[in-house]
């Protein structure tokens, strides 16, 4: 009887879904790579942001470009929205599905197809993990430069969608500077290649327009990333200050003196304290702020820059300066920095990580205002950020179980955005707009500016079916509204 049951179950599992859309997708991929159970859809209804309320449709795991094309064609036939998904590590809600779209999870397209040393590029599939790519390249004398804090889990495809940054993007630029070509499946299932391996590909830079479009223009299926040579020499410096203001002034002075370090990160006292509790990295806990600076390149230039940075720091009343003596110490210092967000749970169970950019000269003023704002709203804030780029990351800590807290957190978040804009800054440096900052777009851009951004989107996706409801504020993307107002079919009603 048990055996018969099993056999019955086997044949049952082989049957295609009763939902025509899902059945069509299962025919194109396979039964087991198109999921429709509620728990599977729930798992893919969120990303790492604080935004709830997403609703995933069927979840597909394509393995080839042809399968992605097939999904897009089926979606078009059924007039159904689609959302591409990498690791789901985004922080602005860009991967939160709205309107029960088909979720195209790219994690099974994770091969490094080719490393082409002569052309200093590698062709990779979008599901390749950022950190794994760099580790793969390192023994060959190269690495992939952008290193978001989530690099252990985030994918190159996700990095392309968000134009991701990371601490080491100060000197060499963010994802856009390190991706030379992309293969893209458009909403109608057609396959194109934007950019190229040649030095100046003819025509409009559709590659540049696509990177950072948060999965709204199509789905990348292959990416040519630039290989950056490993530096001959690296020097990591930890500088402590009594106040964040002194640290911020040092950052501006370093740049004004003609030095562009590979990375220049700042952490405030609360951050240092939790990091040291979590994973002792060698940071002094009795100081107001630290700067983690890294210079890399040829040996004498590195020594020269490091000395100058130390002199500038001393002139700005640095309390102490420590040089990493070996790779072990360097790794410990970086491990601390990259563990900051996780370590925040020592202070509160939840955090909301913000991301704005301000001119470097405004860093100290803006941070003062952020801290005052948090104190006035009885919230704790940690500051750990890419100081060299002026890219702030205030981390608001809270307990989501406490009634009314999340509302206060959102209100303070909105104020942080306003303070940053008033200081001449922008909405986001590396997390993107997603659904988090959609409604703030009108604070940064005029209606005409937004209308032009929509023209770009429209040229790729006239029905706005790909990742609908993101980036542009409601009212600036009409087709979006139509897509989202259309009730999801079948089991998702």
């Amino acid at each position: 009887m048990v055996i018969i049951n099993k056999i019955q179950q086997y044949f049952e599992n082989r049957k295609l879904s009763s939902n025509p859309l899902v059945a069509e997708l299962q025919r194109a991929l396979s039964r087991d790579r198109v999921l429709e159970e509620e728990e599977d859809r729930l798992l893919h209804s969120k990303d790492e942001s604080v935004f709830e309320g997403g609703l995933a449709g069927p979840v597909c795991f394509p393995r080839t470009t042809e399968e992605v094309q097939a999904i897009m064609r089926i979606a078009q036939l059924f007039e159904h929205p689609v959302i591409p998904r990498g690791a789901g590590s985004g922080l602005a809600g860009g991967a939160v599905p709205l309107g029960a779209p088909i979720v195209v999870a790219m994690t099974e397209m994770n091969k490094i197809n080719e490393v082409d040393i002569d052309n200093r590029i590698a062709w990779v599939e979008p599901g390749v993990i950022n950190f794994e790519l760099s580790e793969y390249l390192r023994p060959m004398g190269f690495h992939y430069a952008p290193d978001p804090s989530s690099q252990q889990i985030c994918t190159i495809g996700g990095n392309v969608a968000n134009n991701s940054g990371g601490p080491h993007c100060l000197a060499d630029g963010v994802t856009d500077s390190h991706v030379v070509a992309i293969e893209v499946v458009l909403p109608d299932g057609e396959l194109g290649q934007f950019g190229g391996i040649d030095s100046e590909p003819r025509g409009l830079d559709l590659r540049g327009a696509f990177i950072g479009s948060e999965g709204t223009l199509g789905i990348t299926t292959k990416i040519a990333v630039r290989l950056t040579p490993n530096p001959e020499e690296v020097q990591t410096i930890l500088i402590s200050f009594a106040t964040m203001r002194k640290a911020a002034e040092t950052v501006s002075a370093v740049i004004a003196n003609g030095i562009v370090p590979a990375a220049m990160e700042a952490m405030d006292q609360k951050t240092i304290e939790v990091i040291e509790k979590h994973i002792p990295a060698g940071y002094p806990t009795d100081v107001g702020a630290v700067l983690l600076v890294e210079v890399e390149g040829l040996p004498d230039g590195v020594e020269n820059d490091a000395l100058q940075i130390c002199e500038i720091a001393e002139a700005h009343e640095a309390l102490d300066i420590k040089l990493a003596q070996n790779s072990w110490q360097r790794e410990a210092l970086w491990k601390g920095r990259k563990s900051a967000f996780g370590a925040s749970t020592y202070l509160a169970p939840n955090y909301y990580l913000h991301d704005t950019v301000v001119p470097r000269s405004q860093l100290a003023n803006v941070l003062d205002k952020v801290n005052e704002l948090a104190a006035a709203n009885e919230l704790t804030v940690m500051n750990v950020f890419h100081a060299g780029d002026g890219n702030l990351h205030p981390l608001i800590l809270f307990d989501a179980e406490e009634e009314g807290t999340l509302e206060r957190v959102h209100a303070v978040g909105a104020e942080i955005v306003k303070i940053s804009l008033e200081a001449g800054g922008v909405l986001s440096g590396e997390h993107g707009i997603g659904i988090e900052k959609q409604e703030f777009m009108s604070e940064l851009f005029t209606d005409e500016d937004l209308r032009h951004q929509n023209k770009l989107r429209y040229a790729f996706d006239p029905q706005c079916r790909i990742n609908p409801g993101k980036i542009l504020p409601i009212g600036h993307s009409c087709a979006d509204i139509q897509t989202l107002h259309k009730p999801p079919e079948g089991i998702w009603v």
Binding site: S177, D198, S199, E200, L204, S252, I255, L427, L472
Partner: protein, 304 residues
């Protein structure tokens, strides 16, 4: 925060207007690229002048009609420069064309330097894209689309660029060589490696003693000696895969100078037309239709 426009830009908006064919003349160094403007086109000049340079922010805001020479002369006072090529043209022209500097490996790509663009739309509105900070992912990257668009999607009026420090020292060295790729591979981030099939020119930039060490490395590979400047470049610019530069067919190119590690080649003869990706062509047409439905911006020039 939305920032206001100065009076020169407002005047320029009036000049561009909202009807009739219009094109911008810069230094006319690439005037024949991808066709000429039609005879009835109103040819105008963009306003010029540096608006602000903040060295500690590594940014400069400049009107499109400013010459690159003028811009770099001013930035040099604070020890900075940009990645725009110095070939006698304007800032707006350099961005509309999108060609990189000869020393691109050291200076970076033009497209990476463009942080914000303000352009006049076909309808005569001022549109702002990007932002005047060094890192920004707020919305769609229209400013990237404008680089190399030859003014066919919008008339570039004002640009904010990322600046970079001028290195302590820079020098050209030259030697005869048949193995340019080996020389390129032996160096850590040279700013240019040029090769004409017989002779190689290397541009080194950085700290004085690092340059000396790189020169010593080069002396093990050839009889390198210092030289004043880069070689003269043949007329036509080719875009190639870097790996294809070591097997150039001289019958096809005539005399050439190749940028090793980059893929740009300057040759006596023009590059044969490459097939255009059909999907790119479709999107390009749609973008043109969206941004300039009546075809009034730089008519006569096309990528297709």
């Amino acid at each position: 925060m939305k920032t206001p426009f100065d009076s020169l830009i407002k005047e320029f908006v009036k000049e561009v207007g909202s009807t009739g064919p219009v094109a911008i003349e810069g230094g006319k160094t690439r005037w024949n690229l991808h066709g000429l403007p039609t005879a009835e086109t109103n040819i105008i000049r963009a306003p010029s002048g540096i608006i602000t340079h903040t060295p500690e922010e590594m940014i400069v805001k400049v009107r499109a009609g400013t010459t690159v020479m003028e811009l770099h002369k001013d930035l040099k006072k604070n020890g900075q420069r940009t990645s725009l090529p110095e070939r006698g043209g304007t800032v707006g022209g350099a961005i509309a064309v999108g060609e990189n500097h000869l020393n691109m490996l050291g200076r970076g790509r033009v497209r990476d330097a463009v942080l914000q663009i303000r352009y006049i739309s076909a309808e005569g509105e001022i549109i702002t894209c990007g932002a005047p900070v060094v890192k920004n992912v707020s919305g769609f990257s229209l400013h990237k689309l404008m680089v190399g668009s030859l003014g066919t999607l919008g008339v570039i009026a004002e640009v904010t660029l990322r600046t970079n420090p001028i290195p302590d020292m820079s020098t050209w060295v030259t030697a005869s060589s048949k193995t340019p790729q080996d020389i390129f591979n032996a160096l850590y981030k040279p700013s240019a490696v040029l090769w004409d099939g017989e002779t190689i020119w290397v541009h080194l930039e950085g700290h004085v003693s690092d340059i000396e060490n790189q020169r010593k490395t080069l002396l093990n590979l050839g009889n390198f000696e210092a030289v004043e400047d880069a070689p003269g470049l043949p007329r036509y610019r080719w875009s190639m895969k870097p790996s294809d530069l070591v097997q150039i067919n001289r019958q096809e190119t005539g005399n050439f100078v190749a940028s090793i590690g980059v893929g740009t080649l300057w040759a006596d003869r023009p590059q044969p037309r490459k097939p255009v990706d059909q999907v790119s062509e479709k999107i390009t047409k749609e973008l043109k239709h969206q941004f300039d439905p009546h075809g009034r911006l730089n008519p006569g020039r096309t990528f297709l």
